[in-house]
């Protein structure tokens, strides 16, 4: 997502990515503090139940973030921590109320109880379920080591004087969450790591931005963006493109996983969530059972996948993570409900976690025939009202008889309606690639990941830049 932030200095990258809202260096939720937090939250639940409020629930979050970045202008590290709790209950009028505090301490939670219950009530006797804990390897990233990794990410063997901007960044989010209600007591620690290498080179009158990235949940040193992947980013930025204008038309296409992922990332929030279904157009077009894609398309939101950047063990309502089938063999079978508040204390959101487009059984190279191979998904726009889709693509390589012809066009877009595009899918590769995405809304982070195969489809391709 560095590309989406635009090219900025390392300081700007680190500051922009490192210090969104809700960071604090206050008391870490170290293992020894975990029992304390649990006790405070249980006390809060007992007090809310004692006040006669229905379905009391407590969520607490302690999150740290470290971002190291290095670019043409220098190197920088940003660090922050955030802590807070959300107490929620249903009042006598049937209204669900949430009281949020940024003070994760006994006094802070007691104040939140008072605000929600209107007074300090006598606690009710509550028989809590035994705690379930999902831990992770404790992480306290070393700034110097992270900076060194960021510097490595900023360079590779293919660097040349034509590259006018280069950057490397590594971003570590470490969140501990507690969700407590009379029927559950759960704790999870999620460490999410994302590293990225960005390269920019001029191609004619416009800069070409290329990025390689890798994201996972687990140890900071568990994976790395290797030299070959960084070099691929440089080569993509330096690629020489066919200078003649691209003739638009309807073509057979092979969508590389990053292009497929761009479509999924735009389409699911716009069409397959509970909030999207409030639109009458969406509710009608994507009713459960409706055929919206080729039978080869099966899509699941699955936060249980081990190591997935967007994965988790339980959601913010405390419910254990479970896969939600969204599209099965081309038919709509489900929607994402308002459940996800992944490691922060903002309002619950109907957002995806780890979207997985099921792989097929053919090699991705076997999908190639005539037409174009689309590489480098830069983003997509899906209009929920009309089904219109516009997918921005870094480059398209012309294919003839399954081989690239050498003609490569830069800066194109695939346009049309999403339904026909998905209905035209005629091949799905057995290989997949994963992408981790992190952005912020109202200063709060949203993590998600997408696992996508290569797809063969047909669609209308045209140049993106002004003729």
């Amino acid at each position: 997502m560095l590309a989406s932030l635009g090219v900025a200095s390392a300081q700007a990258i680190a500051w922009a990515t490192g210090c969104g809202g809700g960071q604090t260096p206050v008391r870490r939720a170290e293992p020894e503090a975990s029992g304390e937090v649990r006790t405070w939250l249980r006390d809060a639940i007992a007090a809310l139940a004692g006040a006669g409020l229905g379905e009391p629930h407590a969520l607490a979050v302690a999150r740290g973030r470290t971002t190291a970045a290095s670019d043409v202008l220098g190197a920088s590290v940003a660090r922050g921590r955030c802590a807070g709790a959300v107490l929620s209950a249903t009042d006598r009028g049937g209204v669900r109320r949430e009281q949020v505090t940024g003070d994760l301490s006994q006094a802070g939670i007691a104040a939140a109880v008072k605000a929600l219950a209107g007074a300090t009530p006598a606690p009710a006797r509550v028989a809590f379920a035994p705690p379930q804990v999902w831990g992770a390897i404790p992480v306290e990233p070393d700034d110097a080591a992270l900076l060194e990794r960021a510097r490595q990410l900023a360079h590779d063997r293919a660097m040349s004087s034509r590259i006018v901007y280069w950057a490397g960044a590594i971003d570590v989010d470490d969140a501990t969450l507690w969700a407590i209600a009379p029927d559950h007591d759960r704790e999870q620690r999620l460490v999410r790591v994302r590293c990225a290498a960005t390269r920019v080179a001029w191609n004619g009158t416009r800069p070409v931005v290329a990025e390689a990235s890798r994201a996972w949940s687990g140890g900071v040193a568990e994976h790395e963006l290797d030299e070959d992947e960084r070099e691929a980013a440089s080569r993509a930025a330096l690629a020489l493109y066919t200078p003649s204008p691209f003739e638009p038309g309807e073509f057979a296409l092979v969508l590389e996983p990053s292009v497929t992922a761009a479509v999924i990332d735009a389409a699911v929030p716009a069409l397959l969530t509970a909030s999207a279904a409030r639109r009458p157009e969406v509710a009608r077009r994507l009713a459960v059972g409706a055929s919206v894609a080729s039978p080869l398309v099966t899509l699941v939101d699955d936060p249980t996948i081990a190591g997935a950047y967007g994965g988790f063990h339980f959601d913010d309502l405390g419910a254990p993570a479970a896969a939600i089938p969204l599209v099965d063999a081309g038919r709509v079978v489900g929607r994402i409900g308002p459940r996800l508040r992944p490691g922060h204390i903002g309002p619950a959101d109907a957002a995806p976690s780890h979207l997985r487009l099921a792989p097929g059984d053919v090699d991705h190279e076997a999908l190639r025939g005539e037409g174009y191979l689309l590489e480098g998904g830069l983003g997509a726009m899906v209009d929920p009202s009309s089904d219109r889709v516009v997918i921005s693509i870094a480059r398209a390589r012309q294919l003839h008889d399954g081989q690239t012809t050498g003609r490569t066009y830069a800066d194109l877009e695939l346009v049309g309606e999403l339904g026909p595009l998905l209905a035209s899918v005629s091949g799905v590769s057995k290989q997949t690639a994963s992408f981790g995405l992190r952005d912020e809304r109202d200063g709060l982070p949203r993590w998600r990941s997408i696992e996508a195969p290569w797809l063969r489809a047909t669609g209308r391709l045209r140049a993106r830049s002004q003729p």
């Binding site: 300081q11 206050v26 940003a78 109320r97 949430e98 505090t101 009608r284 877009e413």
Partner: protein, 419 residues
């Protein structure tokens, strides 16, 4: 316990070259059809610079809460600053904070969650239509201090409504954000949406071809600054220094842009009373100033952080904030003289702007063919926004919405509608 005085003392004691601390005590109310939320939080922004013979190291910490020790915070800031040393620079002397009003007196005494609930409850709900919404209300007391002994504080409020207006089989989303309740103008926004829903129900597909384009307010200001965001990107000092923008100070923003009868003037005004992006000072403690970005079609200003300003030997200005675009003399009553058909764009499905080149793709949701009066849907317009907005005829009527103050519509002569 973190407190401003303790942080300041610790930062001074550790000999940091420059520092600034901004504290924000916030009350936030948030309401949708399922939940009423009330939130209290304290946010801190600590910016510290440490000088060494190798250069200057900088650290920024964003802190949410009051629990913790000032010493730990400063330890961390120092460690971060020393881990990342860059070129040496020194901020110019602290300027006086901008004098700007940011708090709506009407929100003084009410609980933010009550305000948000009332916003949702009081939305007009015309018969035959459904309106669902979520609203938020923020009230904050902010204070800042710096190494130079500078201290200031201010009150600010912000309200926001995200609504979905549906009639029959169609819906339109509305977003309004303002410092004052009276600036939200929700009644008008919902009335416009209903009118556009009726047009949508009668609309036919757009046909490709050349056209003259009128961008009405809802289309022009899609997602905040809308098409004018192209100028905010071009005025980014970091990107400009890296040579990645086409914007060059002192040069016309487009060939011939300075010779037009009504050349373009754009000002960034972070000191605009009740502007959603207004503030007395920036997060780095730099005084926010209004400054011209484009004057008479010539690029004249950049948004400068303290670092960028120091490297350019200028004064910082708080960066690009609210945009004020000078009105023109065109009115729709004057009509449009054009050999092409005239398309008035009412709503966009999407707007994508290349931040380096200013080229944009506008996906049309609803337009009206001014010649036939027929509503249209769909189609794409490609524009070089820097060039086209430099030459565009701007309306005499001014609209103020979110971070934008300027013409309520623009007319662009040469455009190509793609099906």
């Amino acid at each position: 316990m973190i407190d401003q005085r303790g942080l300041g003392r610790e930062l001074d004691r550790r000999g940091l070259a420059e520092w600034c601390v901004v504290e924000r005590d916030q009350e936030l109310g948030w309401v949708d059809d399922a939940v009423v939320r009330a939130e209290q939080r304290t946010r801190w922004q600590v910016t510290a610079h440490d000088d060494s013979p190798a250069g200057r190291g900088s650290a920024r910490l964003a802190i949410d809460g009051v629990d913790g020790s000032p010493r730990d915070v400063v330890d961390q800031a120092l460690a971060l600053a020393r881990a990342a040393v860059g070129v040496a620079w020194q901020a110019s002397p602290q300027g006086a904070p901008a004098r700007v009003k940011l708090a709506d007196p009407a929100l003084d005494k009410r609980r933010p969650s009550d305000v948000a609930a009332a916003l949702v409850h009081d939305l007009p709900r015309p018969s035959g239509a459904t309106v669902t919404a979520r609203a938020s209300c923020l009230r904050e007391h902010a204070s800042a201090s710096s190494h130079a002994g500078f201290r200031t504080s201010w009150l600010a409020t912000r309200v926001r409504v995200d609504a979905l207006v549906a009639r029959g089989e169609r819906s339109l989303a509305i977003v309004r954000e303002a410092r004052r309740l009276s600036d939200l103008e929700l009644d008008a926004a919902i009335a416009d949406a209903l009118e556009d829903l009726e047009l949508l129900a009668a609309a036919g597909p757009a046909t490709a071809g050349p056209c003259t384009l009128v961008l009405a307010a809802d289309a022009m200001l899609d997602d905040g600054l809308g098409v004018w965001a192209a100028f905010a990107s071009q005025a980014d000092a970091v990107t400009e220094r890296e040579g990645l923008t086409r914007y060059r100070e002192g040069a016309a923003i487009a060939p011939g842009a300075a010779e037009l009868a009504e050349p373009l003037d754009i000002t960034s005004d972070g000191a605009l009373d009740f502007g959603v992006r207004s503030a007395p000072i920036g997060d780095d403690g730099d005084a926010v100033r209004a400054f011209p970005i484009v004057r008479g079609g010539i690029a004249v200003g950049l948004g400068l952080s303290p670092r960028e300003a120091a490297l350019r030997r200028r004064d910082p200005n708080g960066g690009v904030r609210n945009l004020e675009v000078a009105a023109g003399s065109w009115t729709s009553e004057l009509g449009v003289v054009s050999s092409d058909r005239v398309i008035e764009v009412r709503r966009l499905r999407g707007l994508a702007i290349d931040r380096y080149t200013g080229h944009a793709s506008l996906e049309l949701a609803l337009a009206i063919d001014r010649g036939t009066g027929k509503p249209l849907y769909g189609g794409t317009i490609r524009l070089d926004l820097i060039d086209e907005l430099a030459r565009a005829r701007r309306s005499a009527t001014i609209v103020r919405r979110g971070p934008y103050v300027g013409p309520s519509a623009v007319l662009i002569d040469r455009a190509e509608l793609l099906a």
